[in-house]
């Protein structure tokens, strides 16, 4: 487990905790100098990029040091908050998320140099960089915090800065609307977390995650689990708590979307994994519920994705799907704990955590790719794109890598993490002690269905954007992206290929994270990592051989228009669109998607020109959440008089509450 990182940490002489805190501080300050520099110059954005990059180096190094040698104690300073100290510690679980936060954030900052340059965004460039840095710092802080008050501080910085980055273009009403939806969702989530930590404090007397001593099966344990599921599930976007996610991901600037989808929603997963780690004997239904919610999220997330016309909304629904896959892994690990099968804990946890990394990599890659397309064409509508492969060859190839990876196909990284989850599910199905295995048996076919549907969705997206002929003037005028945008994508694609072709590279990190859950057996003993690598290499060799053979035969070939069953003048408008590609699947899942369409009624032998319109809006949001919120709003109208909108009144309320609490207790 020791490596070059030990020797690196030695001369630097800093513990991983110190490095992590330095990284957070650098990231938090990255946008500040720019505020005092002129709007027109490039100095501000360069300086902010340099600071984020330095934070990235420090953060990733901190994670590497922690993987090599997890520090036993961490940093603990006295603090005025009752029941705890200001405690920071980087163990394997923290390190996995820490590495991801700073890696993706740094790549996003590189991408932003090309995508959101100050010269083109004079109004909001400085604001965006300030909150981007703070968002990164908040996430970095929360994954290393051991004290729950410190954790919540990081959590709130993250939640508020995410709101402020989503609403970068706050002059647009639609963006303000999704921003408020996100803000309401995250407030409710934080409320759940306050209640959860309060219950933990009541049961253990400490403000931390450690649930030892709490009876997991009792009412307090049940309440803690349900509150964690609601609070962290809202952030993660677990269905049906995902309602804020598609709009927010679609409206934010693309590098922020990548950071949100790749990293921010994973903070919910971190919270779940950290809280659950404290319960050594969870009841079986905890894992069962998480497994079932994960399966529902995964299947319906991808089904909704298939119905989308907007490339960023499509990618956002895939986040819901992948969070579902991750939760299936976590649920399996919890089931393993409940029934006393350590190999299920290992496989489920390793699958979930590796998928956290993998999804961060390929989703950021896909968002960057879609950002390049938006940058080049000015549209997010799939049905206005097409034929971009010949105009943006590098972007197309990199997007293809991301698409193959997210479908979980060999030989890329998505396959490896899904294989871990599958192995765990099959182990569970082979158990001979009792009947609990039947509950897990239906998860494997559900995951297979998800993989196949994701394939349909990404073939559709890749085909509609990059293949065929351009469907609009915008697509015709597209151009390749600058190097600052391609560079981060190349780095991400290389990581996807590395993890897929050499999965043993990530085994130490996963072992170190699994140790937090008390798993002592190594991953290398449970999974044939070497054989997976061999299969990947053989597959690449077979592709190369077949390609070489075909290429040797078709060196001399003629060009002609597409044959199209003899029709000699096929036009761009005659192509199959993404909507038509998705139509059969949308109909099949119509019972859950509730698609809307305006189809014209054609009458007579010569009907007039007609238009068709179909869309798949978020059924949970439109039919469940908004109506019930509106009803609640009407019900509470009588209380409206206390909401005066001036700060003095609110401060007065707070003072009054504190006095009452002091008198009461």
């Amino acid at each position: 487990m020791s490596g070059p990182l030990d020797t690196l940490a030695g001369p630097v002489g800093l513990s991983s905790e110190a490095l992590a805190l330095i990284a957070c501080a650098l990231a938090a300050l990255s946008g500040v100098p720019g505020l005092f520099l002129p709007r027109d110059g490039r100095a501000g954005e360069r300086l902010s990029f340099a600071l984020v990059a330095a934070a990235g180096v420090a953060g990733v190094t901190a994670a590497g040091v922690a993987f090599a040698a997890p520090s036993p104690r961490g940093i603990s300073l006295p603090w005025a908050v009752p029941g705890g100290a200001l405690e920071v510690r980087v163990d394997g679980l923290s390190a996995m998320f820490l590495a991801q936060v700073f890696f993706i954030s740094t790549l996003g900052a590189v991408y932003a140099l090309g995508y959101w340059p100050q010269a083109e965004h004079r109004q909001n460039g400085r604001k965006l960089r300030l909150f981007y840095g703070l968002l990164t710092a908040g996430m970095g802080l929360l994954v290393v915090a051991r004290n729950s008050v410190l954790f919540l501080a990081g959590w709130e910085v993250m939640a508020l800065c995410a709101f402020l980055t989503i609403t970068t273009e706050d002059e647009k009403p639609a963006i303000r609307e999704v921003g408020y939806l996100y803000l309401s969702a995250t407030r409710i989530g934080t409320l759940c977390l306050f209640a959860m930590f309060a219950l933990l404090f009541g049961a253990t007397g400490r403000f931390d995650f450690d649930g030892r001593g709490v009876n997991a099966g009792g009412p307090v344990g049940t309440a803690i689990f349900l509150l964690a599921l609601a609070g962290f599930g809202l952030k993660a976007g677990l269905m049906p708590l995902h309602v804020w996610l598609p709009g927010a991901h679609a409206s934010a600037p693309t590098h922020v979307s990548a950071l949100m989808s790749g990293v921010l929603i994973k903070m919910g997963i971190y919270g779940l994994a950290r809280t659950a780690a404290g319960f050594a004997q969870p009841p079986l239904w905890w894992g069962g519920v998480l497994l079932a919610l994960g399966a529902v999220s995964a299947v319906l997330g991808v089904a909704f994705a298939i119905g989308q016309h907007d490339i960023k909304r499509l990618l956002a629904y895939h986040s819901v799907e992948n969070i579902g896959i991750i939760c299936m892994g976590l649920g399996l690990a919890l089931v393993g704990r409940a029934v006393g099968h350590p190999e299920l804990v290992l496989l489920g946890l390793a699958g979930a955590l590796l998928h956290v990394w993998n999804h961060g990599l390929f989703k950021a890659l896909l968002f960057f790719g879609s950002g390049s397309v938006i940058h080049a064409t000015g549209t997010r509508e799939l049905d206005r794109l097409g034929g971009l492969l010949r105009r943006m060859p590098a972007t197309a190839l990199l997007f293809l890598v991301g698409a193959v990876a997210i479908c979980g196909l060999p030989p890329l990284n998505g396959f490896v993490s899904e294989l871990f989850v599958f192995l765990g599910l099959f182990h569970a199905a082979a158990a001979r002690d009792g009947r609990w295995w039947i509950a897990t048996a239906f998860a494997a076919p559900a995951l297979a269905l998800v993989g196949a549907l994701a394939l349909a969705c990404f073939v559709k997206a890749f085909g509609a954007v990059f293949l065929g002929e351009p469907r609009s003037e915008d697509a015709l005028r597209a151009h390749e992206s600058p190097r600052t945008m391609l560079g981060p994508m190349i780095a991400l694609a290389a990581c996807c290929a590395c993890i897929g072709l050499a999965p043993s590279l990530v085994a130490p990190a996963l072992d170190s994270a699994a140790a937090v859950w008390g798993v002592s057996t190594g991953l290398a003993a449970a999974v044939p990592l070497g054989r997976i690598a061999l299969a990947g290499a053989l597959l690449l060799a077979a592709f190369t051989l077949a390609a070489a053979a075909l290429a040797s035969r078709i060196r001399r070939s003629n060009a002609a228009p597409t044959w199209d069953c003899g029709y000699a003048a096929p036009g761009a408008r005659m192509q199959y669109t993404s909507s038509s590609f998705a139509q059969m699947l949308v109909d099949l899942f119509g019972f859950a998607l509730l698609p809307r369409e305006r189809a014209p009624r054609l009458v007579g032998p010569f009907p007039p020109p007609a238009a068709y319109h179909g869309e798949v809006p978020d059924a949970t949001l439109d039919r469940l959440v908004l109506p019930s919120l509106n009803a609640a709003g009407r019900a509470f109208e009588a209380l409206h008089f206390i909401q005066r909108g001036n700060v003095q009144a609110y401060l007065g309320y707070i003072l009054l509450t504190l006095v009452l609490l002091l008198v009461w207790t």
Partner: protein
């Protein structure tokens, strides 16, 4: 000992790479016999492949390298999948979890064939691609329920162990009913994955109801040859899987095991021919219902194991 294993591996690769077109010949002969015709010679698919391989190519001006990647992926993925099918308790490539790789290899091939179809910009091929993606997604759970049944019986996720039978043997009375359901469901998966009747008609190149054939309308010459060869390889490999489940040979004698496999493959080819001769193609709207039925069938296989 090692040279013997090596010899077996070479034989495995040779059989799996050379025999697939013969399977198509057997199917066509069976269909001809049912129709009262003499039919094309058994080796006709080989002649066709050689002819196509010698031809020149015409590529559409709309297409890019993705169009050529389709046939390449079809051959490469099916060839690697062939390495995973165990015969006589041995496969050239085998590890815990290779059953998942087996399923996902065909998915990888599908990704590129559908992408190649979309690359032409033709509405016909887009339609075929959409159908292929839709129907295959419905077939996937059926396949995985089947794998789950085998995995529970054998307590393994490696095809070698899954098809060798578990500690209790392969077809004992307790598991027999589940395995019958799995074989039936996988036969349906075999038909849909290989675009046979009742899902698709391999003979109709110019009808709007077809799936696989329409995706490759624009491929010609060597590229079409690669597509056809890849399709026959896929049919051979998936048939071999069904045969290995239905005819478990518990010993490790390679002669008997290979003999049983080839006999079984002959039987599958004949039964595909019979199905194609006595059934009409389903209306497209009914295809999903049949696939869901196959999923439920293998789902019942799991439930039966829970007794």
């Amino acid at each position: 000992m090692i040279p013997r294993i090596l010899l077996l591996d070479v034989a495995h690769v040779a059989v799996f790479l050379l025999l697939p077109p013969l399977l198509l010949g057997v199917i066509n002969k069976t269909k001809a016999a049912f129709a009262g015709r003499v039919g094309p010679p058994l080796l006709q698919p080989y002649y066709d492949l050689v002819k196509l391989w010698r031809k020149g190519s015409v590529f559409s001006t709309s297409t890019s390298w993705v169009f050529k990647a389709g046939p390449v992926a079809a051959v490469a993925t099916a060839a690697i999948a062939a390495l995973l099918v165990p015969v006589a308790r041995h496969a050239p490539l085998s590890f815990e979890g290779d059953a998942i790789l087996f399923a996902y290899l065909f998915a990888l091939g599908r990704f590129f064939t559908v992408a190649a179809a979309l690359d032409t910009g033709s509405a016909f091929e887009g339609m075929g691609g959409a159908r292929e993606a839709t129907f295959s997604s419905l077939a996937e759970p059926a396949l995985f329920f089947g794998l789950l049944v085998l995995g529970r019986i054998s307590r393994s996720l490696s095809l070698v162990a899954m098809l060798a039978g578990g500690p209790e043997g392969h077809w004992p009375p307790r598991t027999g009913a589940s395995l019958v359901l799995v074989v039936a469901a996988l036969f349906v998966v075999l038909l849909v994955e290989n675009s046979r009747i009742p899902f698709d008609d391999p003979n109709t190149h110019l009808e709007l109801t077809m799936i696989h054939e329409v995706m490759v309308l624009d491929h010609g010459g060597p590229a079409l040859g690669a597509v056809l060869y890849g399709a026959s390889l896929k049919l051979f490999v998936l048939s071999a899987l069904v045969v290995r489940i239905a005819l478990p040979y518990l010993g490790a004698d390679p002669w008997i095991a290979w003999g049983a496999l080839l006999m079984g493959l002959l039987a599958v080819a004949v039964s595909i021919g019979i199905v194609e001769s006595v059934m009409a193609r389903l209306r497209l709207v009914h295809v999903p219902s049949l696939l869901v039925a196959a999923c439920l069938l293998s789902g019942f296989g799991i439930v039966l194991l829970a007794r």
